[in-house]
């Protein structure tokens, strides 16, 4: 309702579009170049390290990768957008740039609020119990301690890690990779996000958990958020997203309704 009123205030100049969509992410001709370290190739002695520090030069083993080449699109409130493309097409890089974790070299990315990136390798503290990780993760997302105490039990229930005995009080290093991923997803999904970026995280967990998490993504969308989903499982993109963006070698190939884009993508992938 508030948005309608705002639209009305601005209506003195131009006629208001009654169902004006509110953009949450505006990507404007974004180019992303990042540097990768190829690992140690000599010169790792303390003396060489000191010399590099003094001269402020980079280690010689750095290579630049032009991962996203001029992508533009606008995402609106209440949308769930799938990002598809072959491996190394720049999907994850684009998500990290939207989350503000990678700089754009040219162009710009504008966002509403602070987008949260939910990836599979969002590691917390492996030496600590699941319960403590829940508390820490929630505090790290900016929740108040009272709110954390209220939500903690619900988060552990949702993750289902206690289905085979009391795992919540054991250190996270004793968890299977699926359990750890489920707990991480549950923590991140406990908070309302304006923009939620999900990188392959729904692929983890068993069938029951996948159903619950897809349900949670729908709830997050209805809570006036925008959800981005990177996945190689086209079925989960089809189930959760009505719009899909197809990236290929850093270039936006297609942007439209999920069915159309996936059909074109499948035709392309099969013809290769």
């Amino acid at each position: 309702m508030v948005e309608h009123m705002n639209a009305f205030d601005e209506a003195t100049v131009s006629l208001p579009v009654l169902t004006e969509r509110i953009p949450t992410v505006v990507v404007d001709d974004a180019h992303i170049i990042y540097r990768v370290h190829k690992g140690a190739t000599g010169g790792t002695t303390p003396v060489a390290a000191l010399r590099r520090l003094v001269k402020r030069t980079n280690a010689p083993n750095v290579r630049e990768v032009h991962a996203v080449k001029g992508v533009s699109f606008t995402a609106y409130r209440g949308e769930a957008i799938g990002l598809i493309g072959s491996n190394g097409s720049g999907k994850s890089t684009l998500l990290r740039a939207i989350a503000g974790l990678l700089p754009v070299n040219r162009g710009a990315i504008h966002t509403q609020g602070q987008p949260s990136l939910l990836g599979v390798n969002a590691a917390l503290l492996n030496d600590l119990s699941g319960e403590r990780n829940v508390t820490l993760g929630c505090l790290a997302m900016g929740m108040h301690p009272d709110e954390v105490a209220k939500q903690a039990a619900g988060i552990i229930d949702f993750s289902g890690i206690n289905e085979r005995g009391d795992f919540a009080s054991l250190p996270m290093r004793t968890y299977s990779s699926g359990m750890a991923a489920r707990l991480r997803f549950s923590i991140a999904a406990a908070k309302k996000h304006d923009v939620l970026l999900i990188d392959e995280a729904l692929a983890t967990g068993d069938k029951g958990f996948r159903k619950r998490s897809e349900q949670r993504v729908r709830e997050l969308r209805e809570g006036a958020g925008t959800v981005f989903l990177v996945s190689h499982q086209l079925s989960s993109v089809r189930d959760t997203c009505e719009r899909t963006i197809w990236l290929e070698s850093g270039v936006l190939r297609m942007d439209g309704p999920t069915d159309e884009v996936i059909r074109a993508y499948e035709a392309y992938a099969n013809s290769k």
Binding site: D28, R35, P103, Q114, L118
Partner: protein, 297 residues
């Protein structure tokens, strides 16, 4: 081909105009210093919880568990005493055991904070890449963890000082403000090395050398009267060494006859406070200026 329309079909605005109209901000923009401090304050619960968690986690694999908090400083003191007190027979300092352990524990507070601080960004990349929070929370929680460790070693220190026959005096109370000043100084230095270590992971290799040199320049192991043999400018330099200052403040508080390099107590407090303010504010601003770079690469 691509549908990269620069102009929105509904409103006829360019992407930048559309973003500006709805008040969208550039992703990953650095907040102002005031705003950053405000956000950091809102994260104080996280800092405390994270510091506690690190303390628990660091001993979670050891059989003796938290007991190592006390055993580590004790063993350390025993080794140095064996070498400098027994083998090399230092006897120019009255009550050498207490003199040595005071210096050792105070120096160790800054040393371990800096070693942990160098890696406080690089060892938490998973957390940094997953969640958005003021990054200064991490080095600050490192400082808090080390402060908790210090409190345990201070219990050991008071025990040693009492056993070696020092009387309890009102001066002991001065230990509290001295440690607080040092904690603020440490927070600043940790923020500094955290940013440097985030960019150049090589700093981790160099750090032990820097700290070893600093230790010899702080009169931890031998009598500070040795510094008086240096040329005048060098003695002055050592007098303003922040760690020597904090160690002398602690020795003044706890020990009756310890030799001190700085004769004026007022100067000692002033230099100690000045270092805390300069390092605290300087380190915070330096770290804030790099805020949007952490976790990239």
């Amino acid at each position: 081909m691509a549908t990269t329309a620069l102009v929105d079909p509904d409103t006829g605005l360019t992407q930048a105009q559309l973003a500006a109209r709805h008040g969208l901000r550039v992703a990953g923009e650095r907040p102002t210093l005031v705003e950053y401090s405000r956000r950091l304050w809102a994260y104080r619960h996280f800092i405390a919880a994270y510091a506690n968690a690190k303390l628990v986690a660091s001993y979670s694999n050891a059989k003796l568990g938290q007991l190592w908090q006390v055993l580590t400083p004790l063993t350390n003191a025993a080794v140095y005493y064996l070498i400098f007190g027994v083998v090399l027979a230092q006897n120019s300092v009255p009550n050498y055991i207490a003199y040595l352990t005071t210096g050792l524990f105070i120096f160790n507070f800054t040393q371990s904070a800096m070693l942990a601080g160098t890696q406080s960004i690089s060892s938490n990349l998973g957390l940094i890449r997953a969640l958005h929070f003021p990054r200064a929370s991490l080095p600050l929680s490192t400082t808090v963890t080390q402060f908790q460790q210090l409190l345990a070693s201070m219990v050991v220190l008071v025990g040693i000082v009492l056993v070696t026959g020092e009387p309890i005096t009102l001066d002991w109370l001065l230990l509290v403000p001295a440690l607080l000043l040092q904690a603020v100084f440490n927070a600043g230095v940790v923020l500094l090395v955290a940013r440097m270590g985030a960019k150049a992971s090589d700093l981790k290799q160099v750090m032990p050398f820097i700290l070893r040199t600093w230790m010899y320049g702080s009169g931890v192991l031998y009598s500070v009267s040795l510094f008086e043999r240096l040329p005048g400018w060098a003695t002055t330099l050592v007098q303003f060494n922040p760690l020597l200052v904090y160690i002398e403040l602690a020795r003044y508080a706890l020990l009756e006859q310890a030799p001190l390099l700085n004769e004026s107590l007022t100067q000692l407090w002033l230099v100690g406070a000045a270092w805390a303010v300069v390092a605290g504010i300087g380190g915070f601003i330096y770290f804030w200026r790099g805020e949007q770079e952490y976790g990239r690469g």
